[in-house]
């Protein structure tokens, strides 16, 4: 644990939804180019914590954050943060595949356009191809890029959502229960994809599914009632938890 390079470091992080204290004194370090899983019972604040890293909580009214989150040493909890650059660098994949009601091509083009990343038809197509290859969709979809993305299977849609993020060359990818709408086989395949992606990206995944956390992650954080109770390598947290709460949760005594 000590030798790992830290990508994101949260310090004294507190978050309030109005009067509700949703995150309490979070101290959390996300290792670089690894998969970190956040587990914990429903409502403990996993999504909330994840959404702090790309400041998606800004969309929620009455949401107030104190403390510090540094990504590559740069402060994120700061009014002067460039949200556009931040969200390009820290991409997010949501629980339900949320592809736009547009063609596959245009779903991928959207991000390239808003960040003015590439121009020219050939270079755009090459980039889109690269993005689809990253998520193993190119061969399936190369002949129907103009088809509406909402006609794809849920697994394909979720892969497309990942491609939409990857194509922007982020450094961090946040995934909030990315498999909860998928069947077990699709889930396995997405997990495989995540293992491939961790060579190039820092990945944080929220999951309800402890087996998934155990299968896919290198590090695991356990949250309970707005606090980060325990954090360590996945094997340590699952086989030798330091905290009683963690142990009870992992052994399935509550959830």
């Amino acid at each position: 644990m000590d030798q790992m390079a830290v990508k994101i470091r949260a310090k004294d992080l507190n978050l309030f939804y109005g009067d509700f204290h949703a995150l309490q004194d979070i101290q959390f370090s996300v290792p670089e180019k690894a998969i970190t899983a956040l587990i914990g019972p429903s409502g403990c604040g996993k999504s909330t914590l994840l959404r702090c890293f790309n400041r998606m909580n800004d969309l929620v009214e009455n949401c107030r954050i104190t403390g510090s989150i540094r990504i590559d040493g740069q402060e994120v909890v700061d009014d002067r943060t460039d949200l556009i650059a931040l969200r390009k660098k820290v991409g997010m994949v949501f629980q339900r595949p949320n592809v736009f009601d547009l063609s596959i091509y245009n779903n991928l083009l959207f991000g390239l356009r808003i960040h003015r990343m590439v121009s020219g038809k050939d270079r755009i197509l090459a980039t889109i191809r690269w993005g689809l290859e990253q998520v193993g969709l190119w061969d399936e979809l190369k002949d129907r890029l103009n088809q509406n993305a909402r006609t794809l299977t849920l697994e394909q849609q979720q892969r497309l959502c990942i491609a939409r993020v990857v194509i922007l060359r982020p450094e961090v990818i946040l995934l909030d229960e990315p498999c909860s709408a998928l069947d077990p086989i699709a889930t396995m395949r997405i997990e495989e994809l995540l293992r491939e992606l961790k060579r190039d990206y820092t990945i944080v995944i929220v999951t309800h599914n402890m087996q998934q956390a155990a299968r896919v992650s290198d590090y695991t954080g356990f949250m309970y009632l707005g606090r980060l109770i325990e954090f360590g390598t996945t094997s340590q947290v699952f086989t030798n938890p330091r905290d009683r709460l963690t142990e009870n949760y992992i052994s399935g005594q509550f959830g």
């Binding site: 556009i84 969200r87 808003i114």
Partner: protein, 289 residues
């Protein structure tokens, strides 16, 4: 058993009401057609459709519909050009930009706008807007196509705004989250994601607005100068199809050529709105795919 019978009755009622609607449309058409064809016994169809003079009470009379068609076209096109962008942009503002309390106020204002009787608007046009435009643009008369267009645009706005706003508000939140998550600004999200996703609803809103504009009679009769000559620009006095029927029906002797000519005008109006609706439907269907 009881339930099966109730189901049956309900189903029959629904079928019947559907049939009634169709029946009405067909009956209106036949009714117009019956009287309109009587004109063409005396007066050639070609001269009616292509004639450039509408002189119903001169001797011999002339029933050329072109001046009225062009009048309608000017006023309607002017209104559409004005109300579509304003309406859609207002809807975008209300749906996505306005903060909570302002949003509520704007929505009820739009509803109030919708309930202003057209004769009141005509009155405003007559005593205020017309003279104002006359001075502003240095026109010969304020009672012209432009005044009509402005008022009609105003009348179509509530329809366009409220239906477009509904369409925009029902764009799934997940789309917006996805866009913001990718680093899009509010404007980019609105323009590239919400607008296309709401497009079929917005097109429907625009079409309904246009329907209102084409069918409107009172306002155009009051403010467009009521002169059935081919206008050379929108700032001249003119007369629309609708206004012609409304203003001449009273004086036309029942059973006369003039009387039948007005029915023929009505038929043309009916067919044009029918065609516009067909086009609108085609658009909607394409947008849905």
């Amino acid at each position: 058993m009881r339930r099966a019978i109730t189901e049956r009755i309900i189903e029959t009622c629904i079928r019947l009401s559907g049939l009634v609607v169709i029946l009405f449309v067909v009956l209106v058409f036949l009714f117009l057609l019956k009287d309109a064809v009587l004109l063409f016994g005396h007066y050639p169809l070609g001269q009616f459709l292509l004639g450039t003079k509408w002189l119903p009470i001169s001797e011999p009379p002339s029933f050329g519909i072109i001046p009225l068609l062009i009048g309608s076209l000017y006023v309607t096109a002017g209104a559409i050009v004005l109300c579509v962008p304003v309406g859609v942009i207002s809807a975008m503002f209300i749906a996505e930009v306005a903060p909570g309390p302002l949003k509520g106020i704007l929505k009820s204002l739009v509803e109030i706008l919708a309930s202003i009787p057209s004769v009141v608007l005509g009155f405003i046009g007559l005593v205020w807007l017309g003279p104002f435009l006359k001075d502003l643009l240095g026109l010969r008369t304020g009672q012209c196509g432009l005044t009509g267009s402005l008022l009609l645009a105003f009348m179509a706005l509530p329809t366009i705004i409220s239906i477009s706003e509904d369409a925009l508000a029902s764009v799934p939140k997940a789309f917006k989250e996805a866009a913001y998550g990718l680093g899009a600004t509010r404007w980019q999200t609105l323009w590239r994601i919400c607008l296309p996703a709401a497009s079929s609803g917005i097109i429907a809103a625009v079409m309904l607005g246009i329907g209102r504009v084409i069918g409107e009679t009172m306002v155009v009769m009051m403010v467009t100068g009521n002169s059935p000559v081919i206008p050379r620009s929108i700032t001249q006095a003119l007369r629309t199809l609708t206004a012609t029927i409304a203003s001449e029906m009273g004086e036309a002797v029942s059973g006369s050529e003039h009387y039948y000519a007005l029915f023929a005008v009505g038929l043309v109006l009916f067919i044009s709105t029918f065609l516009i609706n067909l086009v609108a439907d085609a658009f909607l269907r394409r947008a849905r795919q």
